[in-house]
């Protein structure tokens, strides 16, 4: 078990009386978090490290309304059973005020019922599954990044604008990610949903996606939407190039990483791919003079100098942590869990440093999807180039 804060250790001491906890609670905001520090998804745990560093910076600057932030982050190995066990520990032993930015769809789904039952805020769950923005069923759960359905709607708008007569082939992973994004795509196409000539799903246990690509090509489609995770995304890009199939190639954001997907698949084969973005790319020179990104780089220089700034997870962790600090700041001295949720659900036009210009965080009592806008980008040479306007993928029309 990895503990990123000494706070958990002090709290475990039996000498600590109840009264002391509540007195300390007046000066300390205790935030719980789960990350896959071990196991196959461990690459994402950089998000937790950045968040930890961000709260350290906030503490060094005097904290939030005079209170220190204690960030208690446990390893769940991306395992739902372990996530439940660890979140119980966070809530019952560490007595955290809220659980922030737990990583992953299966893990967040596993702790969602428990946290709602306990009425503990599950804020800014690090997953794009649409189920984390359903205030009626789960009033204590809120996501952060654009939900996959929004992303699907954005692609639908883009396709309708650029290839209105197109025939679309879809390859999707048979899970929350794939089905959510596909639903968004269909909803976005509306009465033009018949443009989808063929949809193929694959299971993560399959060795390769090559056969699917052969069938999708045979469908005669000239637009291909690839809702795939990194390994299958790379296989698909490679297979489409090998089959000499050159549709308008839309790659879902989850596997749009240059280092983890496009480079292994081959940069030649990746030319012309389109995807969508909501964060500024830290390696993109166009943001050199951007005030937000200058703050971002200054933070990294001081608190996490050794991280790879090109890794999308770094900007993600920074943006989510900054957004939480904003919510806590607005909560003022009323740090009740109900007020935290109320503040989180009344953000309007808030822009963390790392979001693209024109994209803002917007929530309401009936809108628990903080970010729903994206901008299209095209892969050219060795980097992504943004193009076109900010596209709104709002789920409630």
């Amino acid at each position: 078990m990895l503990t990123l804060s000494a706070a958990a250790l002090t709290l475990a001491s039996p000498a600590l009386a109840e009264g002391v906890v509540s007195e300390r609670a007046d000066r300390v905001i205790r935030i719980g978090n789960l990350m896959p520090y071990s196991g196959p998804a461990s690459a994402y745990s950089i998000v937790g490290r950045i968040e930890q560093a961000y709260f350290k910076m906030i503490n060094d600057q005097g904290g939030i309304n005079g209170r220190r932030v204690e960030f208690i982050s446990y390893d769940d190995a991306y395992n739902p059973a372990k996530a439940v066990e660890q979140v119980r520990k966070l809530v019952e032993r560490d007595q955290v005020l809220l659980v922030f930015s737990a990583m992953g769809t299966p893990t967040n789904a596993a702790i969602q019922k428990y946290l709602n039952l306990k009425q503990v805020p599950q804020l800014f769950a690090a997953s794009g599954a649409t189920r984390f923005g359903d205030p009626q069923a789960f009033p204590w759960t809120m996501g952060w990044q654009p939900p996959y359905q929004s992303e699907g709607r954005v692609y639908a708008k883009f396709i309708l604008a650029t290839r209105p007569q197109g025939r679309i082939a879809v390859l999707y992973q048979n899970d929350d990610l794939g089905r959510d994004l596909l639903k968004g795509l269909k909803d976005g196409l509306g009465d033009k949903a018949a443009m989808i000539a063929l949809e193929e799903s694959y299971e993560v246990a399959e060795p390769s996606a090559d056969n699917h690509i052969a069938r999708l090509k045979a469908s005669g489609a000239d637009v291909f939407v690839s809702i795939t995770t990194p390994k299958f995304a790379a296989q698909s890009i490679k297979a489409a190039a090998a089959l000499d199939w050159h549709p308008l190639y839309v790659q879902a954001l989850v596997a749009a990483s240059i280092a983890a997907v496009l480079r292994p698949a081959g940069l030649d084969a990746s030319q012309g791919l389109v995807s969508a973005a909501y964060n500024k790319d830290a390696s993109d020179p166009q943001w050199r003079d951007d005030a937000g990104m200058q703050r971002f780089h200054a933070f990294l220089d001081g608190y996490a100098p050794d991280v790879d700034r090109g890794d999308n997870s770094v900007a993600y962790g920074y943006g989510a942590a900054q957004c939480l600090v904003e919510v806590l700041r607005r909560a003022g001295d009323d740090l009740s869990r109900a007020n935290i949720m109320k503040q989180a659900a009344s953000l309007q036009g808030y822009a963390p440093d790392t979001l693209l210009p024109g994209i803002t965080v917007n929530t309401a009592a009936d809108d628990f999807h903080p970010i729903e806008q994206l901008r299209m980008m095209r892969f050219s040479g060795d980097h992504w180039e943004l193009f076109g306007p900010v596209i709104d993928g709002k789920l409630r029309d």
Binding site: A43, D210, N211, R215, P230, D244
Partner: protein, 292 residues
Amino acid sequence: MDLFLNQILAGIATGAIYACMALAVVMIYQAIDHLNFAQGEMAMFSTFVAWQLMQWGVPYWGAFVLTLAFSFAGGVIIERVLFKPLGNAPVLTHVAGFIALFAIINSVAGLTWDFTIKQFPSPFGSSPFLGSQLISTHQAGMIGVTIVLLILLFLFFQYTRIGLAMRAAASQPESARLVGINTSWMIALGWGMAAAIGSIAGMLIAPVVFLEPNMMGGVLIYGFAAAVLGGLSSPFGAVVGGFLVGVFENLAGTYIPGVGNELKLPIALALIVTVLVVKPTGLFGRTIVKRV
């Protein structure tokens, strides 16, 4: 018709992956009379070793040969250290050992090389083969290597003393010991050869599926299906089984409505069960007669 031919070609291309793996499965079955569940992970680990050697600047064929040697030695060592002491233990103990080995190798590879996918080079290139867009030169090369491997194995088991001794040790251990064959070392040799063949399979499969610690998970199940279909005692049957499974899976995916997407893996598993019920020795396996 065009789609049909294309699907068969594409099926053969994926079938080559399964055939390669099935060959390694049969090899270990010949030696120890069990399936080795850690076979895929051993192959994956060997492939990572090859990748690492290439990262250090060793040329492809150098890395290839070194990896073969490493895998052979690794296979022998695993047998000597882990499975020889279990020699007389019941099958279940072996199965537990295989599964432990599976988990250990997978985690160690993840720890050492992390879980992001890596590109693995192909010695054959990846341009279209003979103008066909469905089979690349790599896949054609893979089929070629599988067939060459098959012929070598056939010659080895049919005509060399040591090959014959290995067969004897596996099928009639008692009699083999009586004629002076060191059956214990024959088993270790079988492990070494199975590991070496597995490493070839891994190095051929990795350019298609990309190298990562879980790359063999799906492949091994299809490899088992292929080996069972062709007959666990027949290397030739395993290779034919591999191609059949690849083509069958692809055609079923294309032409049986509703099956294609969600039930691809169950098709492989249903095939295992069906063959075991209808013809337990597989298409080309020997019928084993036991005197009672």
